[in-house]
């Protein structure tokens, strides 16, 4: 509803100067930062992964990232190299950086006063005119801007947390993909050794038949073991392809750069495991998803406060107006105009209820996330410990026992107590056991990554699952 007011005269220029002044003062609170908010992200992530991140915005940025990537790709990649490459090249991460831009733009936008509004009504009828001109400004935004800025600032900080989270998640996924790829490489190598043994058995069997010492039945059996072993190699190679491509995607590599090399072995099992002192508290303190949710909740609380404060008034505008009514030559009537809604039908109750519901929802999501976070961190710590114990058991017990069995079998072969075939089958079993150890070691590193992730955000548990290698091993223990 527009009410033209014809009483006190307002000088339009004076009002404008005042508005301009206010708006400049307020705009000082929100302007674009130099780094687009990435500095805070870098600071947060550096605490956890000590890696550089770069927001590639220009050709120079692109060149610098490219040359640093090339440098890293020259030698077999360490896990840290792989993470660094991913942070430089992963386009998904670059896309996430633009969330910062979007969020900051929102923040800056909120800090800007709405433009004054000029409205004009122009009608005529047989020489009678009606012209209304008004120049209004939403003064309510002057009242709400500090609140709104606070909200947007929270949201921007939340975006920074989320972006940091994206960085750390990418780092984590890259670490895991890296360990999977190295393990897949090693597994393939061991499966090839199994195949070599089976192949030797098959060839020996062929020679046995050729010499007239064996039945074709025996030869077929040995040939069958070889066929199984060849299948094992094919499966291992298939796993390797998947693991390599996953790593390649995360590192954002294509073309020639996909010819990267990995080391031959997984890192050794650490001498000691990390202790679990205050692990839940640590997670509570540093988990970025919790921080982000907390910021969001605070923003929602502000929102709720704002909604409550403005429940009766949706719009309040004020500005000078002049009206001409009658002949074109009549003088304009000057005045100003205030517009607001009268809450007769809508007392804002629904909006408040909605805001309250959203707020309470956020509170509960935050609480749920906190409870889950505690559980996730406990789970990942326990998985980390048990995977450590399993890998250690393989390394210190099972592999040495297998080796001892092999040594004893070698002695038995020397004494012509067992045949070359038994020796070869045994060699296959030993190789498979070593391979199982590699998988246990891989699972340990995966669970260590999960644990690190659980301390900073929600982990995607990936370790301790069955593997195709073990199925192969089962079929080989004939």
């Amino acid at each position: 509803m527009t009410i033209p007011m014809a009483s006190s005269l307002v000088s339009i220029p004076r009002v404008l100067v005042t508005l301009f002044f206010i708006s400049v003062t307020l705009n000082g609170c929100a302007s674009f930062s130099k780094d687009g908010g990435l500095g805070a992200v870098q600071k947060t992530t550096k605490d956890f992964i000590s890696k550089d991140i770069q927001w590639v915005k220009s050709l120079e940025d692109q060149d610098s990232v490219q040359s640093r990537t090339e440098e890293l790709l020259k030698k077999p990649l360490t896990v840290n190299d792989a993470v660094q490459i991913a942070l430089f090249n992963n386009k998904g991460l670059q896309a996430a950086f633009y969330d910062l831009g979007i969020s900051e733009a929102d923040l800056v936008q909120t800090g800007k006063l709405p433009n004054p509004r000029f409205a004009m009504l122009h009608t005529k009828n047989n020489g009678d005119y009606k012209i209304e001109q008004s120049f209004t400004f939403n003064i309510f935004s002057l009242l709400t801007m500090p609140k709104a800025l606070q909200i947007e600032k929270r949201l921007f900080e939340q975006t920074q947390r989320q972006t940091a989270m994206e960085v750390l998640r990418l780092a984590n996924e890259t670490r895991k993909a890296y360990f999977k790829a190295v393990a897949a490489d090693q597994s393939t190598h061991y499966m090839q050794q199994v195949r070599t043994a089976a192949e030797a058995s098959a060839e020996l069997a062929r020679n046995m038949v050729k010499a007239g010492n064996w039945r074709k039945l025996d030869q077929a059996r040995e040939q069958g073991f070889y066929a199984d072993a060849a299948l094992g190699v094919a499966r291992a190679e298939r796993n390797k392809i998947t693991a390599y491509e996953e790593l390649t995607r995360l590192m954002g590599l294509w073309g020639k750069q996909t010819q990267f090399t990995l080391p031959e072995r997984l890192p050794d099992l650490p001498l000691t495991v990390d202790e679990s002192n205050n692990i839940e508290q640590t997670a509570m303190d540093q988990r970025l998803d919790l921080q982000s949710l907390r910021l969001q909740t605070e923003a929602l609380a502000n929102q709720l406060g704002l909604t409550k404060a403005t429940r009766f008034i949706n719009v309040l505008e004020v500005g000078p107006a002049r009206v001409l009514e009658g002949k074109r030559s009549d003088p304009y009537k000057k005045g100003f105009e205030i517009t607001f809604e009268i809450p007769i039908f809508d007392w804002g109750t629904a909006r408040v209820a909605r805001a309250e519901a959203i707020y309470m929802q956020a509170i509960n999501i935050l609480a749920e996330t906190a409870v889950n976070a505690r559980s996730e961190v406990r789970q990942s710590y326990k998985l980390y410990r048990s995977n450590y114990d399993i890998a250690k058991h393989y390394r210190d017990e099972i592999v040495p026992i297998r080796k001892r069995i092999s040594a004893e079998n070698q002695l038995r072969y020397n004494g012509m107590l067992i045949s070359a075939f038994e020796l070869l089958v045994n060699a296959q079993l030993q190789v498979s056991t070593v391979n199982s150890y590699i998988e246990a070691l891989r699972d340990f590193w995966l669970s260590q990554s999960d644990l690190e992730m659980a301390l900073i955000g929600k982990p995607l548990f990936s370790s301790g699952t069955g593997s195709p290698m073990r199925d192969n091993q089962m079929s080989m223990s004939h």
Binding site: Q193, T196, A197, E199, A200, E203, L204, N207, M208, K210, A211, G212, N213, W214, D218, S406, E408, Q410, L411, R412, Y413, N414, G415, M416, L417, I418, S419, A420, F421, L423, L424, A427, V431
Partner: protein, 459 residues
């Protein structure tokens, strides 16, 4: 060597330990001393210093149990106990035996002797002794449950009977005998004739045939094995650990063998013929004896062979089942003869660094190859002679006949020095060309005429 003197004085001679049980000497006074043997070496014959005279035997890799005379009764003390028996240098078995060794000491008595044997049980389970082949009161026959109660651990039983029939006997438990005999519980018994001149010989060797299943790398026999034994032994000893039987040229030599394995053994002597002069039942009448070079000894039987050792040399004496002259081997190992492995060895050694191909040209490699074996294991075939590897294990030894040996000289005289021109030698000349007989029917024709298998459709 155990003499009666140091036995009675209770002195501890080399290889003999006198053990005093934890029983007061007053209580012990009723029992003869326990004499124990610590070495598996062949001991010289035990000359009788009291009682009726006789010509003592020599137990191959064993000894004779000393006795004491008690009011005209010959008293022996056997102790059944766990023992560690060296089966050949490099391998020791955890067995059950008597008085420190398995088999137990030989008991020698004379026809008509009153014999009292104290049997103390130091095994973890009850035992008894059956005096195999003896005529004796039924209650002295040693069958647990049937003729007596079992001798429980820690208990001592007394057997007493008259050695009525001269001949060759043995003793073994008749309580859980499957276990106890598989563990090596047995011993030899000789009842000499009253007249020492009756069938007197210059040298009289005795031993039992026994078998064990001891997994390479382990020490205790598998007691449930029935036929697939891997160690075939004379007196729980295998080649190259079995002593030679030493004889002077021209000596009349007797070898008495008892079979306590679960299969028969054709015992074969090189270079001489022998006659079987005695069986389980007694002496064979001279006019029923026939000359042989191999005599089969069935399960549970005893045989006494005699021959004149007139040919000097180192003569093989062994079981003619060729697997019985081998030590532990794999019976599931495939035959590798003629199997080319040359191209495989490199590939296999990349996985199994210590691998080497074996058996391609037979198993003789084993005679000389000195590769590491499992612990406590003897090579399947070994032993060195003056011309190289002998390649024997199990039931194999030699009869060493030398000119001019002293009557009681049983010392190993070393390798035989062959007179010049009496050893097989290598021919160093071109081989004549091969001339093959022409077959009347060639292989192809046989193939052509053979009726080939056809479809069974019309059936």
């Amino acid at each position: 060597m155990v003499t009666r003197r140091n036995f009675l004085l209770g002195a501890s001679a080399a290889g003999v330990a006198l053990s005093a049980a934890k029983v007061s000497s007053v209580a012990m006074a009723a029992l003869p001393q326990i004499v124990s043997m610590e070495t598996p070496d062949t001991q010289p014959p035990l000359m009788p210093e009291n009682g009726r005279p006789y010509n003592p035997v020599v137990t191959l890799n064993g000894w004779t149990l000393p006795w004491r005379m008690n009011n005209g009764v010959k008293e022996f003390h056997l102790v059944a106990e766990p023992v560690v028996r060296e089966m050949a240098p490099g391998m020791k078995a955890h067995l059950w035996g008597y008085n420190g060794q398995s088999p137990g000491p030989t008991i020698e008595v004379v026809e008509g002797d009153r014999v009292r044997i104290f049997v103390t049980n130091r095994l973890p389970e009850h035992t008894s002794i059956h005096w195999h082949g003896q005529r004796l009161p039924n209650g002295m026959d040693g069958v647990t449950g049937l003729t007596q109660a079992g001798i429980n651990p820690g208990k001592t039983f007394v057997y007493e009977f008259e050695a009525k029939r001269p001949g060759t006997f043995m003793y073994h438990p008749h309580a859980d005998e499957m276990t106890q005999m598989a563990m090596g519980m047995m011993g030899f018994w000789v009842t000499h004739p009253k007249n020492p001149k009756f069938m007197a010989v210059d040298r009289d060797f005795v031993f039992l045939l026994n078998s064990f299943d001891i997994d390479p790398g382990s020490y205790t026999p598998k007691i449930t094995t029935m036929l697939d034994f891997n160690l075939w032994a004379f007196n729980s000893r295998v080649a190259p650990g079995i002593s030679p039987m030493v004889a002077g040229q021209g000596d009349r030599v007797r070898i008495r063998v008892g079979n306590l394995t679960m299969t028969n053994h054709p015992m074969h002597l090189h270079g001489h013929e022998f006659v079987v002069v005695g069986t389980d039942g007694g002496w064979t009448p001279p006019n029923s004896r026939w000359p042989e070079v191999t005599a089969d000894i069935a399960v549970g039987q005893m045989r006494a062979f005699e021959f004149i050792a007139d040919e000097p040399g180192d003569w093989a004496f062994h079981c003619h089942k060729s697997h019985h002259t081998m030590n532990a081997m794999g019976h599931d190992v495939p035959t590798m003869i003629g199997v080319d492995q040359s191209k495989l060895v490199d590939r296999i050694t990349s996985l199994i660094p210590d691998y080497m191909s074996m058996g391609e040209s037979g198993m003789a490699d084993m005679e000389t190859m000195e590769m590491p074996l499992p612990d406590n294991t003897l090579p399947m075939m070994s032993g060195q002679g003056q011309f190289g590897g002998i390649g024997m294990g199990g039931m194999f030894t030699t009869v060493k006949i030398r000119e001019g040996l002293a009557r009681n000289d049983y010392k190993d005289p070393g390798a035989y020095q062959h007179p010049v021109g009496t050893v097989a030698y290598e021919m160093n000349s071109e081989l004549p060309p091969v001339q093959r007989q022409t077959a009347t029917l060639s292989g192809d024709e046989i193939e052509f005429k053979a009726r080939k298998p056809v479809s069974h459709g019309e059936h």
